[in-house]
């Protein structure tokens, strides 16, 4: 990758992030904006592994929940919340890497993989739901069963342990992290590792025939995706200041998939936009009781699958390009006509 590409990529991401950070708080309050940003990161994690690696993971919520729980448990047990922050990324990444290795080295793929990841999520959901007793504790922290873990220390400004990162601070911190993750994924996809991950989606057999150990690359990509979902979970824990087994729920898993489909599979921007839009819609619908939330989400998914099969972002991009091409060809026709007129006059 040459430095020009790098500068362009960084420039685009920084510009986009600044615009979003300035505009979003005018559309929704920072509390909601933070959550939408967390959702965007969670959708990005699935958008990477599914849209680029071709691996449909039905259990992204497992890594999200693990990230949140790891943060809460570690923050109670350790002195610094930043150690908990690091663990909240590492533990889900390691768990995803291990689960991925078990599946990919076992040559599991397609629907079987989706089922296994879903079952793992449901097992975690059931497990954390049934940890209400006092015996279920890790160090000082009780798992809390259905009620989850409240009241753990949240992130503080480094060097100032009494200054908590919350409100607008948490929003800017979250959006900066989202930009970093997005930039990291864009650069990863331009790297040899990223090209191999994309080649897995395109043709796993050919990738293997070229001498690449596809099991290793799939496990590694799965771990990266799990780590990002874990980071989203950690940020959610800091936003909500409570973690509950609901993070591992079937509804949460399904919602992430809907965000990615609606936003646009095979893009990085699409899943983020899908998550933010649908997340916002969910809040807006939450203010009324006429129609059920899930019903609207289901209808929306059907509409997108039927009429916008590529998803929002690829469809809008295609139409924008088409419009640009038309206007540029109109302009060039107009210019050539003007030239002809000028030459006739001369």
């Amino acid at each position: 990758m040459n430095s020009r590409v790098l500068v362009t990529e960084v420039g685009q991401v920084v510009a986009g992030t600044v615009v979003c950070a300035l505009v979003l708080p005018f559309i929704v309050d920072v509390h909601t904006a933070t959550l939408l940003t967390v959702y965007a990161m969670l959708a990005l994690s699935l958008g990477f592994i599914w849209g680029f690696g071709g691996i449909l993971c039905f259990g992204q919520a497992a890594f999200y929940g693990l990230g949140a729980y790891t943060y809460a448990l570690a923050a109670i047990n350790f002195d610094g919340a930043w150690a908990a922050f690091g663990l909240a990324i590492l533990v889900p990444a390691a768990f995803a890497g291990l689960l991925g290795a078990l599946m990919f080295y076992g040559r599991l793929s397609d629907v079987y993989l989706a089922v296994v990841t879903l079952v793992v999520t449901l097992i975690l959901f059931k497990f954390f739901n049934s940890t209400a007793g006092p015996s279920y504790r890790i160090g000082e922290a009780r798992l809390g069963g259905f009620n989850g873990i409240p009241g753990f220390p949240t992130l503080t400004v480094p060097g100032s342990p009494d200054t908590y990162i919350y409100g607008a601070g948490l929003f800017y911190f979250t959006i900066a992290l989202l930009a970093l993750v997005y930039l990291g994924l864009r650069l990863t996809l331009l790297s040899p590792f990223g090209r191999i991950v994309v080649s897995l989606r395109e043709n796993e057999e050919r990738t293997e025939l070229l001498g690449y150990d596809v099991r290793f690359y799939k496990s590694a990509a799965f771990a990266v995706s799990g780590g990002i979902a874990g980071l989203a979970g950690c940020l959610f824990a800091n936003w909500a200041e409570i973690v509950t087994p609901g993070l591992f729920s079937l509804g949460q898993s399904a919602e992430i998939i809907i965000w990615v489909i609606v936003g646009g599979l095979g893009t990085l921007i699409g899943p983020m936009i899908g998550a933010a839009l649908l997340g916002y819609l969910k809040f807006a619908l939450g203010h009324q009781s006429v129609v059920d939330n899930s019903f609207i989400m289901g209808v929306l998914l059907i509409v997108v699958v039927l009429f916008l099969q590529e998803g929002l972002v690829p469809t809008v991009t295609r139409f924008a390009k088409l419009g640009l091409r038309r206007s540029s060809s109109k302009n060039s026709r107009r210019q050539s006509r003007r030239k002809r007129i000028v030459s006739d006059v001369r």
Binding site: E202, E208, L209, L210, G211, Y212
Partner: protein, 237 residues
């Protein structure tokens, strides 16, 4: 005959339930040799080919690659040992550009991957297509892309399954030229049906029938063999 034996199978057998697709095949291939495998449908040549590529694990027998037992190794492990494989149906990445397809193979070897990519594309005569998306190319062009992918990895042993299938007359001529050039640097096995194509490239032909090798000789001799004519070409009247 060329150099040392570089690929050998002994008693290679593949069974699918009660059906024996490959039945105790002993096969040897010397360095810089181009060997064609022929036989009627169901003769076992494709199953034999899949064992050599690591896509199938033999039920019995051994495969030696430069004296190393490789039966049961995964395709990527054979790829890492310098075996280039072209499958019957073009196995390419349709969503990527021609350049990206070949580059992924070229970067596995030492040196400038971009230069190696261009050189492989020029060798098969599709350098002008390098920016095209592979999925938008014709079947024949995709066959050539796959061949470029194989060449870019600089393999010493090349296994080609029906490389002439679906090619136009001009493309077949180009393929013949490429294979003739390749045999100066590599050892080749070609599974093929097209006898006209085989006549142009092969020195020795191995004929499969009912999972066994029934003949192995220079192409003209094989074509005169009454048994081969009977089982494969049809009995002469």
């Amino acid at each position: 005959m060329s150099g040392d034996v570089v690929l050998e199978t002994t008693g290679l057998t593949v069974r699918f339930g009660g059906v024996t697709a490959v039945d105790g095949v002993d096969f040897a291939l010397r360095e810089r040799e181009l060997r064609c495998l022929i036989g009627p449908n169901g003769a076992g040549k494709s199953t034999f080919f899949k064992c050599l590529t690591g896509m199938l694990t033999p039920s019995e027998g051994a495969i030696y690659l430069r004296d190393e037992a490789v039966a049961g190794l995964a395709p990527f492990q054979l790829g890492q040992r310098g075996v280039g494989i072209k499958t019957q149906v073009p196995s390419v990445m349709n969503g990527l550009s021609v350049h990206e397809n070949v580059w992924l193979a070229a970067r596995r070897r030492k040196g400038d991957a971009n230069a190696a990519t261009l050189s492989a594309l020029e060798a098969v005569g599709i350098a002008d297509l390098r920016r095209e998306t592979v999925g938008q190319l014709s079947h024949g062009q995709r066959q050539l892309v796959e061949l470029a992918i194989v060449l870019a990895g600089k393999p010493w042993l090349i296994l080609l399954d029906e490389p002439a299938a679906g090619l136009s007359g001009e493309e077949v001529e180009r393929m013949v030229g490429i294979l003739r050039g390749l045999v100066k640097h590599a050892t080749l096995i070609v599974v093929e049906h097209d006898m006209h194509f085989i006549r142009q490239i092969a020195e020795t032909v191995t004929v499969f029938h009912q999972g066994r090798i029934i003949a192995q000789a220079p192409v003209e001799d094989v074509l005169e063999d009454p048994l081969v004519r009977d089982v494969y070409l049809g009995r002469s009247r």
